[in-house]
């Protein structure tokens, strides 16, 4: 599990540290922002729309996974300091290894985790990014 915040220097560090846990994962073509997170089996690039993530407003994320074929991806948010999740259930659409989750909202300021639960024939994985909505 790797934990990164979005941003230039942090993003660069994320790229370095993420390598080695799962498949190497180049930034998707055409992306100018985003961050990389790695699990045991899969690595993902993700970015929010809008960016940065706002507090108390709906946002969506796009993601691209590197690794074996994927059957299902679940996306959830978690606020570890308060031990609660989101008040909304995002809808995930998947197209091969790429996908989009809509209907997310971080309703409080502070540190949140964005968690991708990935399932496929190769097993299950949990990819966790840390982020602070603005």
């Amino acid at each position: 599990m790797a934990r990164w915040r979005l941003g230039g220097p942090v993003l660069a560090a994320a790229l370095v540290l993420a390598v080695g846990q799962a498949a190497a994962c180049p930034r998707p073509e055409g992306w100018t922002g985003g961050a990389s997170i790695a699990g045991e089996t899969w690595t993902a690039w993700w970015r929010s729309e809008p960016a940065p993530i706002p507090v108390g407003a709906h946002f969506s994320i796009r993601f691209h996974l590197c690794g074996p074929p994927v059957g299902r991806v679940g996306v959830r948010g978690w606020m570890p300091d308060h031990r609660h999740g989101m008040n909304y259930r995002p809808a995930v659409t998947l197209d091969g290894l790429s996908g989009k989750a809509e209907g997310l909202m971080f309703h409080m300021p502070g540190r949140w985790q964005l968690i991708l639960h990935v399932r496929g024939a190769a097993g299950r994985d949990k990819l966790t990014a840390e982020t602070v909505p603005e």
């Binding site: 709906h58 609660h84 909304y88 259930r89 995002p90 809808a91 209907g103 300021p109």
Partner: protein, 382 residues
């Protein structure tokens, strides 16, 4: 001190993190955009019609209760009662009606996802006004003045579809109510002085309010829920307030609200949304029902809070001092928090509680903003 001139407040330096948190409570007022789900949002004729409807007692089955019965303009658009009384006593406190256009959910339980849908609720509830779609439509069709107001607001005479007329009344009321935005408060002057590095402007803010503000954005953790320029994150929380309405009957709060929302024909996912793109309906589409919603109520905005006693969803706290004491001595065992860790007993001293109240009092508008209906004149028919 008899001079009437406040002494300059002693310096109280906020940390960079505190300043960042304070600045997020402004600027005020934010831009208010028309509601795309309401085709008459922002239209002067609808605002005038909505204003007339707000004071119309014939929208109650008794002919004696109007919206203004519980939301009195002379009492900051509330009634000062713990639980309001329409045609009968209801379960909850009447909130002051202002800054509604910034809300995401409506009602203490968020059972409505638009201001126009919220306006229909008392018309459907026999304890409040209870006129219902048929009664409301008959009144508008038969009364010359209301029929004329409807035609001016919506561009056509009221038709045969009772439900459509009924919803349109909610939309006209929404057009009126969304104009009610509170004016600037002393806190806003301080916040803006902070933003522009104006030391003299900062110094004019009372010392007790500064100390209370520090508690609000710091140790009190108030800003997690009372976030942003309106001092609410627009969501729901269990504040540790008893939610027994009477012995043996509880108010389920948000849990019941989501269940009502899903059964309602008057939501942003239904046929009465004027926005074909459903651009504001993401909340309704994605809202999640959880057991922890039980006993949660909407986080109220805090602007003008000093004028809207009593407090909490059933008016259980008479004064702001009582509210400060509540959070200071909160019984964590009473929270239906399902493992959540947000509210903690604060153990504030008497002076700290007074400081918190001093801060909250600086959220009172200095002068009420002129409302657009006043600017446009009374365009309703006579």
């Amino acid at each position: 001190m008899l001079s009437g001139i406040a002494a300059p407040a002693p310096a109280l330096d906020f940390t960079a993190e505190e300043e960042r948190r304070i600045l997020r409570h402004g600027p005020w007022p934010p831009a208010l955009l028309p509601d795309p789900s309401n085709r008459v949002s922002g239209k002067p004729a609808a605002i005038a019609f909505g204003r007339a409807l707000f004071f119309e007692p014939r929208l109650s089955t008794s002919g004696a209760v109007s919206c203004a019965t519980c939301h009195r303009p002379d009492r900051t658009w509330t009634d000062g009662l713990p639980r309001s009384r329409g045609q009968r006593i209801v379960d909850r406190n009447a909130p002051g009606l202002f800054n509604l256009g910034f809300n995401r959910w409506f009602g203490w339980d968020g059972a409505q996802d638009s201001l126009w849908a919220q306006n229909l609720r008392p018309l459907l509830d026999a304890r409040e006004m209870g006129v219902g779609p048929g009664g409301a439509a008959r009144l508008v069709r038969s009364d010359r003045r209301l029929s004329c107001g409807y035609r001016r607001a919506f561009g056509a005479a009221p038709g045969a579809d009772d439900a459509r007329i009924f919803v349109d009344l909610g939309k006209a009321l929404a057009a009126f109510l969304e104009t009610r935005v509170t004016g600037r408060a002393p806190f806003d002057d301080f916040r803006d002085a902070l933003a522009r590095g104006d030391a003299a402007g900062r110094a004019r803010y009372p010392a007790a309010a500064k100390r209370g503000l520090r508690l609000f954005v710091g140790r009190g953790n108030c800003t997690f829920c009372h976030f942003g320029p309106a001092f609410t994150n627009g969501e729901f929380a269990d504040a540790g307030v008893p939610h027994f309405v009477e012995p043996g009957r509880v108010d389920p709060g948000r849990h019941g609200g989501i269940r009502k929302l899903r059964r309602s024909p008057y939501t942003l996912l239904g046929r009465f949304n004027d926005d074909a793109r459903r651009s504001t309906a993401a909340k309704t589409r994605h809202v999640r029902l959880r057991q922890s919603n039980f006993g949660e109520f909407r986080v109220p905005g805090l602007r003008n809070v000093a004028l809207t006693a009593p407090y909490m969803h059933a008016g259980s706290h008479e004064t702001l001092a009582d509210v400060a004491r509540h959070y200071s001595t909160i019984d964590e065992e009473r929270l239906h928090a399902a493992g959540e860790r947000i509210l903690r007993r604060l153990d504030l001293s008497a002076r700290q509680r007074a400081d918190l109240v001093a801060f909250l009092e600086t959220l009172t508008e200095k002068e009420p903003r002129r409302q657009s209906v006043e600017k446009t004149g009374n365009a309703v028919c006579r």
